[in-house]
Amino acid sequence: MTTTTSALGGAIRRREDPALIRGLGRYVDDIKLPNETAVVFVRSPFARAKVLSIDTSEALAIEGVLAVYTSDDVADLGPLIAQLSFAPRPLLNGGEVKHVGEAVAMVVAENRYIAQDGADAVFVDYDPMEPVLDLKDALSDRQLVHADAESNTLVSWAGPFGAEPEDQQAVKDQIDAAKLRDDVVVVAQEMTNQRLIPTAIEPRRVLAEWRGGYESLNVWSSTQIPHALAGAIGVSLGLPSTSVRVVAPEVGGGFGAKLNVYNDEILVSWAARQLGRPVRWAETRREAANSTIHGRGWIGTATIVGTRDGEILGYEFEGIADMGAYTQNFTVAIPFLGLFVGSGQYKMPTYWNIDCVVTNTVTTDAYRGAGRPEAIYYLERIIDMYARDIGMDPTDVRRKNFIAKEDFPGAVSPVGFAMDTGDYAKNLDALVDAAGYEALKAERDAARAEGRHVGIGVASYVEVCGFAPSGLAELGFNWAGYGLPSAFNGSGLVRVNPDATATVIIGTGPTGQGHQTTWAQLVSDRLGIPVENITVKHGDTADSPMGIGTFGSRSAAVDGTAAYQAADRVREKAAKLAAHLLEASEDDIVFADGGAHVAGSPESRAEWSDIAAIAYQVHKAPEGTEPGLESEVFFTPSNATWPFGSHLAMVEVDPETGNVEILRYITADDCGNVINPMIVHGQIHGGIAQGIGQALFEDAIYDSDGNLLTGSLVDYPIPTAADLPFFELHSTVTPTDVNPMGVKGVGEAGTIGSAQTIVNAVVDALEPLGVRHIDMPLRPRRVWEAIQVANSEGR
């Protein structure tokens, strides 16, 4: 039994697009229900304050205002508990508010305009307190953000992971001993990996409808995790999981921000039940900045000790990560994901520690890359500084310290994690060759000779995705509070219909990744049914198998494998049926061109419609055949996957203005086998743009009172088309061995590879001026100031 046609690897146009390009996509705000009501939240203007009283009488007197709810009204629902039970969030805060933007009251009215009038008429009396904002101050526990906690530090993650503290200390001692050798250089740098605002172009939206009589809820939400949301709503409202249907229709970007269960999703659902009318909430951009999660927010010091010929003898990282005010789905897990790649793809003794502290700011959680861009940034910046200090080409230093191809299978990173497959030197060589690295360096040197400030930055990365070892859930990274299993399963159902079309239903929650296209390709590959005859559905908990959603570059590697295996099981049954029709052995059945034939005899052929016909009319099939032609599979992989790559940027800095122009951006990424190269390119492009956004533009800035100064797109500049160049993509292919397709995942790779590449390039451009490091974002003023400081220091 074989399949001779393959849709895998084809740049097939997306199935999603014909509706989207005509404006016929259906996002939450495009779905209208009769008799809708609208919500506007009243939010704290203080970073930290006691709520003394809330006067709702004037708001309730406005015609068309239906209800104003405060914390007392929702006390029975309890707080929202995420993982590790740290710092649960009140649904509405009537005690001590902990960040600007925290909701204290909820106004429901006949329409959005009246609800806003009502919110403006709610009077809240606050007693402001001094907020905790600085990370080092938070770490000192001078003031506690949560008065009932013992410390602002929720957890510290140290590596080598899994080692006893004394063994971790032994690694640190070994590194410290190396520093004392007289043939080494020690390079240390404190760096900031600044707080970012994810900024999906569709802000979050929720619409809920209570179905009286059925005693059930229909909820539409712009979410990456429909099943988790259904579970959380059920737990909060005391409903069984079957009584909450969550639909994630078209979702206008997520990037991790929609990988969360939010207070508003629970409250809107609850209000729909209270009022017996549909309730809608649409987040404004300013609300998105002040109440939807942020990302990154690390400070830390990276240190390398190495020989003068480029052998790294030890790497240390000591950091503090900003959790914000509460913990949400993965808040404390994000720095842990950083630890996973703390030693990158290098073989060197590594000591790594990060303290996770709460502050009076918006909670942080997963933002594209989620811990991995931060960890790789510190590592790849300090390696670059080390290469500069010993006068060695940065690509040579990297190559000299890579984990070797020969170390696979079985490679374990110095921070203690088993890696699947890797060929790092080959990948860096591919970048160097494709970019014409030597010629680029000559071009840079010629430009410098003319007095221009041109620089080249190179950085490699390894990341970890496609989770995987479900045992990790036992550390507490699970959604047991939402009534979900503690495992990282993927799911897929494949059904061949009586008319020989196929339906694929998956438990993912895509936000633009093209799952309808990719899954049609991989199922077509297994069954030989043409892609155009395969319909892929996702995002509706009423009909999709339980899945944990789309995040962590996991969907193709995990949920994709589930669908792949489901298709194989369907094919096994179909082969038996075809063998019966063709009076042949099932071992000789070949699936091709939309049907099956006997190997070597293409004329002896059964169409899928013939096979499906007897599958659903088993009196025509071999005795004992069960009716139907479908399979549902849950898959949990044996390990995560470890994609990797190398990026190169060539930039020019204008020393008069500090402006950075990207001249070239060239990559070699390795995400294993590729299902659709067009979609993979798109994922890498978008990822690079977000990394460049961090490197050059984006910064979530709080003032000393805890007000977010960058709460609109005016103050928080994400890249525009005019800020970016074309990206020149190349690849190597090192398939993973943890799933049958050999796919690793690509959603976050571009982001993980790019920020440090840009900073390395800018620092290279300014090296002749004596600039050694500039903290992101490298906006013109900051670059210009760094040049002035370097000048005044007399270089």
């Binding site: 404006g23 078209e250 951009r285 743009a689």
Partner: protein, 165 residues
């Protein structure tokens, strides 16, 4: 107050509150939900439409200001067929989540109406008022190049993913 205008070739007479934004008229009163809302500062461009042939952000215009005008939204752009820009976005993977896409397509169509042979820089500056968080703009620029070639009667260049080493 009473308001008359033409939307996608159809005469429209509606009664609106004076404070109603054009985008809300289109989405809520006329059911044209292809025009999206992504911010409240007119920065993101998801709400871009054409008013009397000019590219306009419909969240920054009151409905009453559109009285007597001809408005074209994404739903009316191709007159039933695909406009070359829409085709370009499909062929060159110019969209992922699709949320910025209608506004982006309207801006690009406005750009090409004035200049059917723009340089890369002209395309990038022509759409810089429309934010996309998914694509890094690479394939959007390629999509606009594709559309421009089609509109000139030229053969579009091959997609980048075909040339990868």
């Amino acid at each position: 107050m009473q308001l008359s205008l033409t939307v996608n070739g159809q005469a429209v007479n509606v009664d609106v509150e004076p404070r109603t934004l054009l985008v809300h008229l289109l989405r809520e009163d006329l059911g044209l939900t292809g025009t999206h809302v992504g911010c409240e500062t007119s920065y993101c461009g998801a709400c871009t439409v054409h008013v009397d042939g000019t590219t306009v952000k419909s969240c920054a215009m009151l409905a009453v200001q559109a009285a007597g005008t001809e408005v074209t939204t994404i739903e009316g752009l191709g007159n039933g067929a695909l406009h070359p820009v829409q085709e370009g976005f499909w062929e060159r993977h110019g969209l992922q989540c699709g949320y910025c896409t209608p506004g982006m397509i309207m801006s690009a169509a406005g750009l090409l109406a004035d200049n059917d042979n723009p340089t890369e820089a002209e395309i990038r500056h022509g759409i810089e008022g429309n934010l996309c968080r998914c694509t890094g703009y690479h394939n959007i620029v390629r999509a606009v190049e594709y559309a421009a070639a089609k509109m000139r009667g030229d053969e579009p260049s091959a997609p980048d993913w075909e040339g990868e080493a």
